[in-house]
């Protein structure tokens, strides 16, 4: 058994949808759900959650709730937290590793040199994963490329897995109701029972090893 390492093509990755980041007003904006950040080296980066370290829906959602909480606390510490801008975790969409890596061989996306998902623990989150896309040097219009990439990634998404965090249960109209069904349809956990059980056991072991410094951070 290995903790960390290569993410297989068939593994699921999840993109958390947080209000208001992934929204335009009260309406869900699919293009904002998969935001790509330009790096100094010209690559594009986004964050995902690896199913290996979030093997149940409960763990996927607890990751999302902590994500929104951390962002709100950071704003609060800076004195910038406004009630209307408070981040609310709404749910997650699923992508397969294979769909992400296929970007590099996609028709009409010649400027993509490579597209990969790499396990990268960040902010104490063992399930955090980088989606990294490397572009050919001198790519003409990076925003046009982003549009194409976001379109391809969204077309491979399934879901949503909606959720209301405990701290948001008092909301009159939770924004998770605005999430739309992804093009690949509803999420379905096709893992057989024994595999799901094994994933949970593996996660518990790796999580314990990591938290007790037996596994390099």
């Amino acid at each position: 058994m290995r903790c960390g390492g290569y993410i297989p093509d068939g593994d699921s990755l999840f993109r958390q949808s947080v209000y208001p980041v992934s929204f335009k007003g009260r309406a869900f904006a699919r293009e904002k759900c998969l935001k790509l950040y330009e790096q100094d080296d010209g690559s594009l980066l986004a964050s995902l959650t690896w199913e290996r370290y979030a093997p149940t829906e409960e763990l996927i959602h607890s990751y999302g709730c902590r994500l929104a909480f951390r962002r709100n606390e950071k704003k609060r510490a800076e004195g910038k937290l406004k009630d209307k801008d408070r981040q609310v975790y709404c749910g997650a969409y699923e992508l397969k590793g294979k769909a992400i890596r296929a970007l590099a061989t996609s028709d009409e996306l010649d400027e993509v040199l490579s597209a990969d998902v790499v396990h990268h623990v960040e902010e104490g989150e063992i399930a955090h994963t980088d989606l990294r896309i490397v572009l050919k040097p001198g790519s003409l219009n990076i925003d046009g490329t982003k549009t194409a990439i976001v379109d391809r990634l969204w077309s491979g998404c399934s879901g949503p897995l909606r959720h209301t965090c405990d701290c948001d249960r008092g909301m009159v109209e939770h924004p998770s109701s605005s999430l739309i069904t992804a093009p690949a349809g509803d999420y379905s956990d096709i893992r057989p029972y024994w595999l799901r059980l094994w994933c949970i056991v593996r996660f518990q072991i790796c999580n314990w090893l990591w938290r007790n410094n037996f596994w390099s951070r």
Partner: protein, 201 residues
């Protein structure tokens, strides 16, 4: 005590595109109006061409461009608001991007294309998006560049890049939009009733 209306009438409205000839109001009481069957249901049994009695002459006829103007006014307002957002706001765009987007939007409006959805990747561009069935079309507009993209759920079908020089004449970039949208010639839209008129088909 509430007074409920005794009768309720449907009121049709004919929406014409710029290439259509408006019905001749000075002819005989019988008017011939070429109609395309609409999704409103009540026209399902009518033939493509039909004689409409005098009372049908009260159907208001408006140009599709008038509908489009309203849509594009709202689009322009939304783009303007995006330039005024605070630094760091996800939806903020730079003024040169706003100018380029308005220029393209004006070209779209002149050709009576439906107003697009908009989003952005940051301050350096804005994206116009149309959906047609499961397919999508995008125009990614930056201050000196336009990228067009047509995609289906399975693959990207077409991508074309236009630089600043081509931006001075947007009709080239709009050719892709026209082909993608495949506009219908006419359509019927049910409108609000002001003077109830018995509809005779």
């Amino acid at each position: 005590m509430l007074n409920y209306p005794a009768k309720i009438y449907r009121q049709a409205m004919v929406v014409l595109d710029s290439s259509s000839k408006p019905p001749d109001a000075s002819a005989s009481p019988y008017k011939t109006v070429q109609l395309q069957l609409s999704a409103t249901g009540f026209m399902d049994d009518m033939p493509t061409e039909t004689l409409i009695l005098t009372t049908f002459s009260s159907v208001p006829v408006i140009w599709e461009s008038e509908l489009r103007q309203q849509e594009y006014q709202e689009l322009g307002a939304a783009l303007g608001e995006m330039t005024k957002l605070e630094e760091g706001d996800e939806w903020k765009i730079d003024p040169p991007v706003y100018n380029a987007a308005c220029y393209i939007a004006a070209g779209l409006m002149v050709h009576s294309f439906p107003a697009p959805r908009i989003f952005n990747h940051g301050t350096k561009s804005v994206v116009f998006n149309w959906s047609y069935g499961a397919d999508n079309m995008y125009l990614t507009i930056s201050a000196d560049h336009i990228s067009t993209l047509i995609s289906s759920p399975e693959r990207i079908k077409r991508r074309v890049e236009y630089s600043l020089n081509e931006l001075t004449d947007p009709s080239t970039a709009l050719l892709s939009v026209r082909a993608f949208l495949k506009k219908p010639v006419q359509r019927l839209v049910s409108g609000a009733v002001t003077d109830p008129t018995e509809f005779v088909g």
